[in-house]
Amino acid sequence: MKYAMVIDTLKCVGCSDCVVACQTENDVPVGYCRDWVTESVSGTYPSVELELKSERCNHCENAPCVRCCPTGASHQTDEGIVLVTADECIGCGACIASCPYDARYQHPDGYVDKCTFCAHRLKEGQLPACVSVCPTKCMYFGDLDDPTSLVSKLLKARKHKVLAPEAGTKPNVYYLI
């Protein structure tokens, strides 16, 4: 079982619903965010191109944040989700410094927090909050180890990319382009 998220940049409108839904679902304090939206503009008027992306922790296969954690609070489940056990976290900040995507942050309560792919929802058979709320339905989530899953089919059918592949982290969030 390898969970992955696939996001269609051709449909994303940058509304940031994914950010608000994550906040209300996961009690993320205002001022912090587990996911965010970026805009890339290139070209010269009137030949302009725009790309909008919703980004978060990529739950990398080769996660530097899991490697560098001295207590093992930062760990990866069998399904590939990277989680932080708050009661084992000492707040040293190493994992925050190690993430090339700057996906982690120090929660006001002291431990390190980040996107969890809504593991608590996956247990109930629901999709992550951001995927469920996106009005353009541009976000997909599923098991890459299953060749019949929607995410596997999308990656086979469409051109896609990941963020900072040269960092060697093998991220599990893909962007259809």
Binding site: L10, V13, C15, D27, Y45, P46, S132
Partner: protein, 707 residues
């Protein structure tokens, strides 16, 4: 992870914007709202709310909310507000309303409203004897397109728009920025259209999000849209690409139209719009090839240059040439189910009302707010003097241009009461402020909106009203009781009204509390026209009027013509404004969840302009418009290739100057205060607001300039 379990699910429909998506409010066992999730059966949202709906929790939790009724008073010579009990406040409002009724007549008390609370007050006002009712959403927003489409097809576009985007093969957006305006169903269906490989053509001087998803982006020179529409008509007619059967069966005045557009060649349009003739032809052909599954989108906020009804009519005519009205992938025939009126005595007949105030505008079908404001200024020639205002759910001064006229009107009023959830700028002008509770804390009328299938939604309170706020239905009833109108409110709790209405409609309050949304079967016929089906349109002739005899008879152009509009002088840039997908105008800027996403607007400036004006990214600048009005607050610059060099762009709704809005105060600039020049639409009185030009000031303007 300390996650609270959902304890209760309460159905509601969102009030953060006008789309009214039905949702479920998840609350925990402490009675706190955890999150708001869309109702899967609702055709408005299909289970997915937009960011503002999801952020509705912030509307409830915002500590800056109005908490107690406030009455204007003078303490040590300074004007201030004192907290009052509901008894005191309501007694005062009723007393003043009665005074106005006795002295001038109930017609002189005006209601300026928006949204669900407005309907409760409308009932009160009609019972009281006043038809002087208006909402900015008409003359400041979609009014012209209702007139334009009404004249052509005999029916309004309405809300939600009956655009069959999910099945369309070609979507043409001319001045519509779907994706930045989060009109939920439209955004969802545009995404479906992209999945289906539909071609999208966007006409916009700015590289909008929709433009970035279009196969063709026509970077039009601002204010020249009618020229483009006319030349599209020219190409489609001249090249025989129009829908011949449809036009023959349903159209009237085609030959007149053909004659009219003969001279509007793409080459002519090129000189005006700066769009290349080849591009105009190519896009016209694409539109025609996809017909009748083509949508020339009517837009939403269409009050731009004063000839907006005619421009909307041009859009309607173009749709008619392609045969999209009443066809799959074009416009479907919407249907809504009527909600039975709770029995009450007949309303009295006022001597005059909104219709008379707008008498100069023959096609006005709702109150023209700016005319009502003018009628509030004492003038010996004023036949319809307005002496009091009740403002509910609209922040007038941030919505309607020409703030000086609004302020002058307010100063002349005998009495003004404002009902709102937040201390918006308009509350600062009131004599009495009534704190309304948010949509999450009250019952409201059953939502029945026109869709593909008739559908109703229930709004029930998920939590008790916070602080000392009260729902609008209670406020209306309390005022009604004090004004001797108790007969019009024969119930103790609005829940009784809803329960009765639902029973009449074949369901029940219990059922609606469980399902939230109920969809009914269509009764009025098919969604689409069948081939060759006889159909009577709501126009005087019963046909789609390409040529409007009605307009001609009243001295207006029977077919749209292009009139050039003012362009900015050297050193000035056209002030363009639009929506941010994360906010609903000025209403949500203070919402903690949403201001976390965007708490200020930025001035979009082309890199060429930035070089000329010597601007850097995130530099703070002030704006001065053509009438010398300077923005109260600075705005940061965003240098981007997405905007033309003759315009600047900013999100509408920022630049709040009420200090009580702690998160919104002073953030960004207000576009409304810079809109001092308006062009009035002669057909229905809409206020065209895109004819204002600004110059960029780098240094903070001197404080002693009188605005």
């Amino acid at each position: 992870m300390k996650l609270k379990k959902t304890y209760a699910l309460t159905p509601t429909y969102c009030e953060v914007c006008f789309w009214k998506c039905a949702a479920w409010v998840h609350s925990d066992d402490q009675g706190n709202i955890q999150k708001i999730i869309g109702n899967d059966n609702d055709p408005h949202c299909n289970g997915r709310l937009c960011p503002r709906g999801t952020g509705g929790v912030g509307m409830y939790s915002d500590k800056d909310r109005l908490k107690k009724p406030l009455i204007r008073t003078t303490v040590d010579g300074t004007d201030t507000f004192k907290e009052a009990s509901w008894e005191e406040a309501l007694d005062l409002v009723a007393q003043k309303m009665q005074e106005i009724k006795d002295t001038h007549g109930p017609e002189s008390m005006a209601l300026l409203k928006h949204g669900s609370p407005g309907s409760h007050l409308e009932h009160l006002f009609k019972a009281y004897g006043s038809d002087t009712i208006g909402e900015p959403a008409y003359a400041q927003c979609r009014g012209p397109r209702e007139t334009g489409f009404g004249l052509t097809y005999g029916s309004w576009v309405g809300s939600p728009e009956p655009t069959d985007i999910r099945d369309t093969k070609c979507l043409v957006l001319i001045g519509a920025h779907i994706g930045e305006n989060m009109h939920n169903t439209q955004v969802q269906e545009m995404s479906d259209a992209i999945d289906n490989g539909a071609s999208i053509i966007t006409v916009d001087p700015r590289f909008s999000t929709a433009a970035s998803k279009s196969q063709h982006w026509l970077a039009i020179k601002p204010s020249t849209d009618i020229a483009l529409l006319l030349s599209w008509m020219h190409v489609i007619i001249q090249e025989d690409l129009y829908n011949k059967e449809y036009v023959k069966q349903y159209g009237l005045g085609f030959d007149a139209l053909k004659d009219h557009v003969k001279k509007y060649t793409p080459e002519w349009a090129y000189g005006i719009t700066t769009i290349k003739p080849a591009e105009i032809r190519k896009t016209a052909r694409i539109m025609a090839a996809a017909a009748p599954s083509t949508i020339i989108h009517p837009g939403r906020h269409v009050t731009w240059y004063g000839d907006d009804s005619q421009r909307s009519r041009a859009i309607a005519i173009l749709n008619g040439l392609l045969g999209s009205w009443g066809n799959r992938g074009g416009f479907f025939f919407k249907e809504k189910i009527s909600v039975p009126k709770f029995p009450h005595p007949a309303y009295p007949h006022p001597k005059w009302g909104w219709h008379d105030i707008g008498e100069n505008y023959p096609y006005a079908e709702m109150g023209i707010t700016n005319e009502m404001i003018k009628a509030s200024i004492p003038d010996e020639n004023n036949k319809y003097p307005i002496k009091g205002w009740f403002v509910a759910g609209t922040n007038l001064v941030n919505t309607i241009p020409q703030k000086d006229i609004i302020e002058k009107a307010i100063e002349s009023l005998d009495f003004m009461v404002v009902m709102d959830t937040m201390p918006m700028e308009i509350t600062g002008y009131a004599d009495v402020i009534l704190p309304e509770c948010t949509y999450l804390e009250r019952y409201d009328g059953i939502r029945s909106a026109p869709n593909r299938e008739p559908s109703i939604a229930l709004r029930a309170p998920a939590v008790k009203p916070k602080y000392d706020s009260q729902p609008a239905w209670w406020i209306s009833k309390q005022l009604g009781n004090r004004l001797g109108l108790a007969d019009y409110f024969p119930y103790e709790d609005f829940e009784e009204v809803i329960a009765w209405q639902l029973k009449e409609m074949g369901t029940s309050l219990e059922e609606m509390k469980k399902i939230g949304v109920k969809n009914f079967k269509r009764k009025s016929g098919d969604l689409y026209l069948k081939k060759g089906q006889a159909y009577e349109f709501g126009t005087p002739s019963g046909k789609i009027e390409f040529y409007s005899e009605d307009l001609a008879s009243k001295g207006f152009d029977p077919m749209p013509v292009y009139t050039p509009h003012d362009t900015p002088d050297s050193g000035f840039y056209r002030l363009n404004y639009g929506r941010s997908p994360m906010h609903t105008f000025s209403r949500t800027i203070n919402n903690p969840n949403l201001s976390d996403l965007t708490d200020e607007n930025k001035l979009w400036v082309n890199p060429k302009v930035a070089r000329i004006e010597d601007l850097k990214n995130d530099q703070e600048v002030w704006l001065e418009n053509q009438d010398g009005v300077i923005s109260s607050f600075p705005i940061k610059v965003r240098i981007t290739e997405r905007i033309r060099w003759d315009s600047v762009y900013m999100y509408h709704g920022f630049g709040h100057n009420n200090k009580k809005l702690t998160r919104a105060h002073g953030k960004g600039a207000s576009d409304t205060e810079l809109i001092t020049k308006i062009q009035i639409d002669p057909l229905m009185g809409g206020t065209g607001m895109r004819g204002n030009f600004v110059k960029i000031l780098i240094d903070e303007p001197s404080k002693d300039i009188v605005l």
